[in-house]
Structure formats: structure tokens, C-alpha cells
Amino acid sequence: MYRYDEFDHDFVQARVAEFSDQVKRRLAGEITEDQFRPLRLMNGVYLQLHAYMLRIAVPYGTLNSRQLRMLGQIARKYDKGYGHFTTRQNLQFHWPALADVPAILADLASVEMHCIQTSGNCIRNVTADHFAGAAADEVADPRPYAEILRQWSSVHPEFSYLPRKFKIAVTGAERDRAAIQAHDIGLHLKKNAAGQLGFAVYVGGGLGRTPMVAKKIRDFLPEADLLSYCTAILRVYNLYGRRDNKYKARIKILVHETGVEEIVRQIEAEWQQLKDTELKLPEADIQAINAYFAPPALSARPEGDALVKQARLDSKSFSEWLEQNVVTHRHPDYAAVTISLKGIGEVPGDVTDSQMEAVADIAEKYAFDELRVSHEQNLILPHVARADLKAVYDALVEIGLATANSNLISDIISCPGLDYCSLATARSIPVAQEISRRFASLERQREIGELKLKISGCINACGHHHVGHIGILGVEKKGSELYQVTLGGSADENTSVGEIIGRGFSSEEITDAIEQIVHTYLGLRLSPDERFIDAYRRVGPAPFKEALYAGETKAA
């Protein structure tokens, strides 16, 4: 994985020193909150309901054991013994004291981590497919390009005060696991007919109060033009994006209001001025960054097949975990493992200090020291020899992280909601927990099949509810929590925004409503192979509306 060079080290150390001084001056009363707020936000420090919150960048979701171990230590030493992985592949601590933040940043810097650009109207942490470098269906590893974008966008003087925040995601496979069409810029790394690498470029996707699916504005952008083209997009956005209304300030609104044809014309015009400048990526630089992401030396481990076969005969639970949480690797003797952070009734994305340390040990011992954070709030071991899968499973069972529910209904994305967040209008985690408990039976979950359920505690949609097969949005109505349900969203290569199905449900009703929706789906699917989303696209909302609200209509 990427290792800091001298410049990165100096840059991060300088930022730690600078922010430490700012914190010291703030605590001494030398600067006001109005002066300090933009400074703390640029360093990932928010204020939530109960305390400050610190958001730590995990660039493109890639971690090594040393880093995860340090996150565990920080959780124990400075926080309350746990952390929360987010949909931007980052980690949040919910209880740090401001006075401790300089020490936390120094600890993070010691393992090449930081909190830079995890907030503010700048280019945020670039996210990538969590199976990058491992997936069997991948054309090329998207992370070197995410790293190039990180270097380019870090304290970029022109793009540090954009109209609003700006999110970029990259995938290297046809099957989109990085939700690129829900991003301000989505990049799909692919090869053209001549075998050259380049990108399909999507612009103007986003969730929040005005969800939009990104528009494809270029089918193939040569890799050398990545930075010049992104700069052209950002320039057009920076110039014309609205600054008068924060709710209309994202690039999705600009694209929508300007029209795709015109925005493409503007971007292309800008790009003509930039494409042959120093922004053109030299092949040597691409190769140099690629070298940092060289895959581990995966030696042949052909004994895996026999060992897995035997272990499956010995243990039904291992067999289920294998079927659900283990995916095909590009090397036939290896596999990529999803470590579910969605234990039944647990808080989605939360992990304790000791679990972080134990997972770090597992990664070190069995997974070439590599870990990923998925935007679905799970951890990934991207390279595990099939021969070691049983040992990994046993180690995960010991720490309570072997729940075999990847992509099932209890693998819920949930934002922190009103239990922590000062923007939230309703709680989301308790809803996730109750649905998870209701569908606790793995047998039942597997019978239902792939079902992406996503919950947000306010319209800002951090829980990606718009692109859930089933989405739940919590709002406050007349002093109570009310949950609106959307159906038919998805965040893959066929991204769609879910449709509101009808009136919302109280916190007491919402789990029953979800169960009714699932029951309806099971009754109308053509076969167990027809996933919820496919069935919904075939039949539309009518049967679900009928199941949820018919009684009311008749009563009325």
C-alpha cells in the first residue's frame, strides 16, 4: 500500500503542529469559536450532541494492521473504547476532548494517518471499491488513481473553498461497489479497445435533500488526462456553482440547472486550456504510484480447496459464512473476506478497541497486513489464502465478528442519527438494531437473499437511504420520530433513487412495515434468484403500497 514519502511526512507533521497551536490558542481564549470553527473542521473536529467528534481519513478505505491497532489504542486512551466506520470509509470517534486532539493527531501521524479534509467545502477523502486489488472482475486497481487524486486535492489552493463539499469515488470493475454514480465525480477505470487504461467519467451525482444520479459525460478519458479533466470539472463548478444557498450548492444542482450538454461544453472548453499543461500525468509518475500498490506476493496455496471442503463438512456455520462473506479473488487459491460489523442487534459500523486490535492481528497473520473499510461500514481482508479461511473464521468467532450476513437484510448501513449527531432529526441506529433483531434468523435472511437496507436520521442522507433497495429516512414530525420508506434505490452500476412509498411510520410501526414489504416481495418474486431490487423494478410500487396501506384506504 501507499507509504508516505518525505514530503507527506513533513506535510502531515506541519499540519499537526499548526493545528496543535490553534487548539492551544483556542483553549487559552485567544481565538473565538467563529475564528476556530473553520480551522477545526478542516482538521476533522466537529461538535455533536454529547461531545466533539473526530473524523479520521482512511484514504480509499485502505489500512494496514499497524494503523488499525493505533485506532484501537486511540479509542481506548482518548475515547470510550470504540470507533464508528462511516460510509466514506473513514472512522469517527464520538467522544474526544478538544484538549486531547493534538495528541491524537500526533499518534495518527506516527502511523501515516490524519484528519485533513474530512470536513469543509473541499475535496473530501476519495473512496474506492473495497475489493480493489483483489477482485476477480477488476480491470485494474483503482487505488493508485485515488492516491493521485488525494495528492492533487490535498490543500489544493484553488479548491479549498468550493461552494460546497466535493466527493470523488473510483472503481476498477464493471460491477460498481463504490457507488460512483452517487458522487460529485465518479470514475470507472476501464480499458479501451486498444487495451489502454482510462476512465468513464460521471458528474453530478449525490444524495442529500435533492438526490441525483450522476450523468456520464465521457466514456473514455485517457488516464494521463485524469487531473487536467478533473481540474476542468472543478473549475467550472467553482466558478458557476451556487454560493447563495447551501442547499443548492452541490455540483449536482449546477449540472441539473445548466443541463448536461451545456456543462459538458463548459468543461471541455476549460479542458482544452489544461490538457497539455503540467497537469498531464507523466507515465513515470503513474508507474511510481502504481508500484506503491503492488499486490502482495501470493504464493500458490492449492491445499485450500481440500481444507475448505473438509471444514465445510465439519461446520455448518463456517459453510454459511463462506457462502455469504467470502468472495472470489483474482488468484484462485485466495479469497477476499468481509468482516461484518453488523452483528445482530449491534450498532452498524461500530467496533471496539480490542476488536480493532484483534482484527489487526488477524490481518497481519493471515492477510498480508492489508485491510479495507467498505462504504457499507464493514471491514475487508482483501487477500486471504483459502487454506487459511477456517483459521480466520475461528479467530473472528472469538471476537464476535463472524456474522454471516454480508449483503443480507441485516447488513444495514446506518448513520449515527440522533443518538449522536446534531443535524439529525430522528434516531437511526435503534431502528437498524430492531430490524436486525427481527430478521435475526440467518436462514430467513438467506431465503430473502440480497437486500440492501439503508437508514438516515435526517435529509442529509449520510446513511444513503435514497439508494437502498429499501431506504428509511427518519424525520421529526410534531415532536415525534417518523420514518419514511423508499423502495427501489440502488447504488451499483444501475444506480437508481428510491421512490417514497407512502405515509411514514412511527418508531413502533417501522419494523412491522419493513417485514410487510419483505413478505410482499417473497410472495411475488418469480424465483429465489429474483432479488428484491429486480422484483421491485419488474412490478413497481403498487403491490407494496397495497400491502402497506390498503387497510387504511378501505377504512377511509
Binding site: R26, L27, G29, T32, E33, L47, Q48, L49, H50, A51, Y52, K80, W95, P96, A97, L98, A99, V347, L418, D419, Y420, S422, A424, R427, I429, P430, Q433, E476, G479, S480, E481
Partner: protein, 101 residues
């Protein structure tokens, strides 16, 4: 009825104005029963923010339950108690707060 609340500068912990200082629990917060008292609380909050003791100062609606102050809105109830998903964390975890609850 209203009380004054904020988050403490040094650690961000939720606090309520009580008896001339900032208390870590809401139960005995100073109550404003009329507009004049509310204005006084707001002035105290603005001064404390200007003095860099606290931030995010707000005057919130409360009621009295069993002789103790209790916020009206769910958001403020959660601030006063802690995350509903973690009874072991936040104000609700301390014996004093449990008595207040």
C-alpha cells in the same frame, strides 16, 4: 419554561447553566419562567461564549418531572441523558444522573 445549555469548550461535554455556573446534568438548571428571565439567560450564554467557556449556546424548552428539570424535545432529552443505544455512556451512566432520571 426554558433553561440555558451549551457544550463546554475544553471537552465538548453538554452542560446546563445552574446556580451561577455550568452543571454537567440538566436536573437543577436555572429555569426562566418568563421572557425577561429568558433574555437574562441568553445574555449569560452570550457572555460565556464570548469568554470562551462554552460554545453552541441555546435556550431550550423544559418541563419539571418529579422536581427535576427535563427537556421537552427528544434531541435535548438525548443530549441530557446520552445515546439511547448506550445506557453505559453519557450522563445516564453516572449515579447522579440516574437519580435524576
Amino acid at each position: 419554561m426554558k433553561v440555558l445549555t451549551a457544550n463546554r469548550l475544553s471537552d465538548g461535554i453538554a452542560v446546563w447553566y445552574a446556580d451561577g455556573g455550568w452543571a454537567e446534568t440538566v436536573g437543577h438548571a436555572d429555569i426562566a419562567h418568563d421572557k425577561a428571565a429568558e433574555d437574562r439567560l441568553e445574555a449569560i450564554g452570550a457572555a460565556a461564549a464570548a469568554n470562551n467557556e462554552v460554545l453552541d449556546v441555546n435556550v431550550i424548552d423544559v418541563t419539571i418531572v418529579d422536581g427535576l428539570v427535563e427537556p421537552v424535545r427528544l434531541r435535548e432529552k438525548i443530549r441530557a441523558a446520552g445515546p439511547t443505544i448506550h445506557p453505559d455512556l453519557g450522563k445516564q451512566a453516572s449515579p447522579q444522573a440516574q437519580r435524576a432520571a
